[in-house]
């Protein structure tokens, strides 16, 4: 496409929008400053609005759930636990030497 043709196309598809009027801008400024004041009063809202907050909270909840829902029967006995466990007569564990 020649430059002249591209210019016509870009004026249709990428035309700069008309600038907002003074009233619209003042209303916008008031909304932004209002939100900033609100954030200053309750900063935790900023934390909740961050996009990684929900996934992070979800992951933390899932990890907590997994850690408390581990079935007791599958827990591995540590070496120390094994030594102090009541597993019968210690002589049962002595290998017989031929």
């Amino acid at each position: 496409m020649e430059d002249q043709g591209w210019k016509a196309v870009s004026e249709v598809f990428f035309r700069r929008p008309a600038p907002p009027g003074a009233t619209q801008t003042e209303a916008f400024v008031a909304r932004v400053m209002g939100r900033l004041e609100e954030e200053a009063r309750s900063p935790w809202r900023v934390f909740l609005s961050l996009r990684w907050t929900a996934p992070a909270l979800g992951l933390a909840a899932a990890l907590m759930f997994l850690s408390i829902s581990q079935p007791e029967g599958e827990a591995l006995l540590s070496e120390d636990g094994f030594m102090v466990a009541d597993v019968g007569d210690p002589s049962d564990f002595i290998l017989e030497v031929q």
């Binding site: 496409m1 016509a8 700069r16 929008p17 600038p19 916008f28 909304r31 400053m33 939100r35 900033l36």
Partner: protein, 190 residues
């Protein structure tokens, strides 16, 4: 004499939050204009522009004094618009063929352009539907260059890439968009 952007930034940093209102007032047109061009709807653009100024306020400590505040705001706005367009793209359902089938005649009437604002408003929805066929990244660079009038250096700063990368991306984006139009308007009409 009006204080410069940098003077206002310094005043905000030293705790004078009212100075920020003046910065918002100065740059509202640019930021809102980019959001509107990228997102299409005025309400969505207004929300996005608010988010941009809130994010900028929170990040003002990271603003380098040797940079242009306008370009820095464009960068934040670009990222915000890309996020919104990417999430919108996930549920985009309209195909190029669907536009062609339903609006083929109107598309041909779009060009050549007449600078008639009523006609522009009438065609705004169609323009938006065509632009939605572009990837968010291509739409962004074409909007910043053609709509907002940024030069190569400003583009590089706003997009966080090198000058060479800007030129290459712009060339590619333009080629893709021209291909899209060719497909819609038939080869001999473009």
């Amino acid at each position: 004499m009006d204080p410069s952007d940098l003077e206002l930034v310094e005043r905000v940093r030293s705790g004078e939050s009212a100075a920020y209102a003046e910065l918002v007032r100065r740059h509202h047109g640019d930021v809102f204009g980019l959001c509107l061009s990228m997102l299409g709807g005025a309400a969505e653009a207004d929300d996005a522009a608010q988010d941009v100024f809130l994010k900028a306020y929170r990040s003002l400590d990271r603003f380098r004094n040797d940079a242009s505040l306008r370009t820095w705001l464009y960068r934040i706005a670009s990222n915000r618009c890309l996020d919104l367009l990417r999430s919108r793209a996930r549920d985009r359902s309209e195909s190029l063929e669907a536009i062609l089938e339903s609006e083929g005649g109107r598309l041909k009437d779009l060009l050549p352009v007449e600078s008639d604002s009523s006609q522009a408003a009438e065609n705004a929805d169609l323009v938006e539907r065509v632009l939605r066929q572009l990837s968010p990244e291509y739409r962004l660079i074409l909007t910043l260059r053609e709509g907002q009038g940024l030069d190569y250096e400003e583009l590089a700063e706003a997009m966080g890439c090198s000058l060479d990368s800007v030129k290459a991306r712009l060339k590619r984006a333009r080629a893709v968009f021209e291909g899209l139009l060719r497909h819609l308007l038939q080869p001999d009409d473009v």
